[in-house]
Symmetry: C2
Subunit: 411 residues, 2 copies
């Protein structure tokens, strides 16, 4: 009997009918001979509602209390889920994070998992029960409830699959898999059969929703294959897995467009050790997430420093930079908000040349001006004018044939 | 610094404004030099909503899962309450039942408290925090969440006061104390300054809401004075306390009227040992709560058996009795639904005569027919025609002067 971990997100358990449908899927897996561990999120918009309740009482609530509050959402789902299974004649038991000793550090609202008591779960599975575990939550050493932050239930599910030696974790969601790019921006986008952890990590950090980085990292580290699939049909979704040889033949697996970004440049900064550190320390203190840092020397005395921030962080970033600019001898500050970033991701780039050339060529042919370029081992990103962003994504998708299944591309 | 336990019921924490008002009352007690432990119930109708969610998925939900579900209501309140206190500059921490090791047996939905870890709470109080504890819930030895059943939060609060050696437990509610009788039925009813545990237990079992029996029993056993008072003003309410000498001078402290009752009689039952036991075993198996049992011998061979049940149990009771009546040789069954029970309660009855006489006299004068009478050491109950119930309550209240404060009655 193989152990299967199935994770159901908030939209998949939003009401009684949806919980029942998910429970039916679970009983089907049991009838097929599996031992099933379910991980569930809070119902629909419930976490948002609880956060609103909190902010009404305290605009800056203590994070410990916030976790104590919002962890109730998942607890409600799992008990209801177990009841639905029992109503179908399937024995079931629900557990909070604390009850299966999902131990975390004590960084409330974004805790990290340290260990899980697989024995409690195994015992219940042996007794013929489906085990329904509250995702997103754990406890620290002193018994305080913690939550895992964004994408936390996915992380719980993958961690549980790892702890149980399940080998695979099914993530049921409202999309039917991972696409080569956002189908709302490129209608010809196709669903991928599989994608490597590293590619998924790049795509996720470029804003491609679906799976959160921490869950993917967990899967990579503990060798858990992640199957992202639809909660409303039985069609296979996308497998996130270790790199296999045939993946190397594919230059570009996916592409993304990020529009809510701004670029900040500090021109003519004094070229002395420690100045860049000062700037980024100031930004970190202001809790600004910074991407794509580029520093270029313009003379022996001066250097230019540029980086990207999310639009929602721009105001805080601007204030931070203006407070430090004189201290680092910055001659001029510039901010560009009318930009977008188009990126391509693929493990094939590790071993193949010519990807950048093809990307830049396609953009040039479409008369898209490139402001700047950054790359990682398996990613190339170009900053372009925002009004050209969607065109840029389309020509890039076309040139790398992201409208075709991976095996049919002539890359 | 004295420890004060304050319990806030569902109506007193129903929304953000009410939570804030309760939190203000707590900070006032802190400023007066107290260490405050708050016990809170679920907000407003939340428990009912969760039960409805459960029944939608399973008409007969497993009780363990039910407790896992409904315990979230109190958990939400306490974290929000702590946030409200912190917003007012008062350090606070919330705890679930499990977090303060409120250990219970494993009788889900009506668990009994076994022990409480007062050290955790004391440590937080010493650190200058208000401790906000989720009422109504505990955990069993294996870490399963349990709930304490009706009136559970009151029981939690009184048990905590006992464990902390607080001496007094304040119960904040939407009424301002305990009245000599229901003011909706007898407008001249007055609020009592104090009442003994035993009287309160009798009144509670006669349907006088406010405090549940288990909480009162706890207070009696562990010597915790209970102060029932309004959450919307600062007026003193009613103290439930040990009997004091002056209470003995008061013949009747309170009166009640119960209308939702029915009387069942089995006439001509074979007068052999074990027959009454058979009847009540059958009723217990049908989960019918039986009151005021009267058995009278009518001959050497035959006896009559009569008892009261709540109207909501009548159908189950009738089926149970009809299934057993031939076996016990019952000649005739009768059921009266058009009845009411008027009762008076007072510890003074233990030492004074004449209470029954005065009660029956007043009822006779008002031409109220008495069907039957039952008594306990501190209670006299009369079954009357239902249409005369309210009149009966009024004349009884008048004769015992329940419209006057206890000290001014000429009893």
């Amino acid at each position: 009997m193989a152990i299967v971990v199935q994770k159901y997100g908030g939209t998949s358990v939003a009401n009684a009918a949806k919980i029942r449908r998910a429970a039916e899927r679970v009983t089907k897996a049991v009838k097929e001979g599996h031992q099933v561990v379910v991980v569930a999120s809070a119902r629909g918009k419930q976490t948002d509602e609880l956060i609103a309740d909190a902010l009404e009482l305290n605009p800056n609530p203590p994070t410990r209390e916030m976790d104590q509050l919002i962890s109730t959402g998942e607890q409600q789902t799992v008990s209801l889920f177990a009841m639905a299974l029992e109503a179908m004649g399937q024995k079931a038991i629900s557990f909070t994070g604390g009850q299966i000793r999902m131990m975390t550090d004590d960084v409330y609202t974004k805790a990290k998992i340290r260990s899980i008591d697989a024995d409690t779960i195994r015992e219940q599975l042996q007794a013929g029960r489906v085990v329904v575990v509250a995702g997103f939550q754990g406890i620290d050493d002193r018994g305080n409830i913690t939550t895992l932050g964004r994408g936390g239930s996915d992380t719980s599910a993958v961690a549980l699959a790892a702890a149980m030696g399940a080998g695979e974790c099914e993530i049921y969601t409202d999309v039917d898999g991972i696409y080569t790019t956002d189908p709302r921006l490129y209608a010809k986008a196709v669903k991928m059969k599989q994608i490597s952890y590293d590619e998924m990590l790049e795509l996720a950090s470029l804003g491609a929703g679906v799976m959160h980085n921490r869950a993917v990292s967990f899967g990579k580290r503990y060798d858990v294959r992640i199957h992202v699939r639809s909660s409303i049909n039985d069609v296979e979704g996308t497998y996130i897995t270790h790199e296999v040889p045939q993946m190397e033949g594919i230059l570009v697996s996916g592409a993304t467009l990020q529009k809510d970004m701004a670029k900040i440049g500090l021109l003519g900064v004094d070229n002395v050790p420690g100045n860049a550190a000062k700037v980024f320390a100031k930004l970190a203190a202001a809790k600004v997430v910074v991407n794509d840092i580029v520093q270029t020397e313009v003379s022996d005395e001066k250097a230019n420093l540029a980086f990207m921030v999310g639009s929602s962080d721009l105001r805080a970033a601007r204030e931070a930079v203006e407070a430090i600019k004189d201290e680092v001898g910055c001659e001029r500050l510039f901010i560009r908000e009318d930009i977008a970033e188009v990126s391509v991701v693929g493990v094939g780039m590790r071993t193949h040349y010519g990807v950048a050339e093809r990307m830049f060529g396609a953009l040039a042919k479409a008369k898209v001006n490139i402001d700047s370029i950054t790359t990682s081992e398996i990613r190339i990103s170009c900053i372009v004018d925002r009004h050209q962003g969607e065109d840029a994504l389309r020509v890039v998708c076309d040139v790398f044939e992201l409208d075709k299944p991976a095996g049919q591309r002539r890359q």
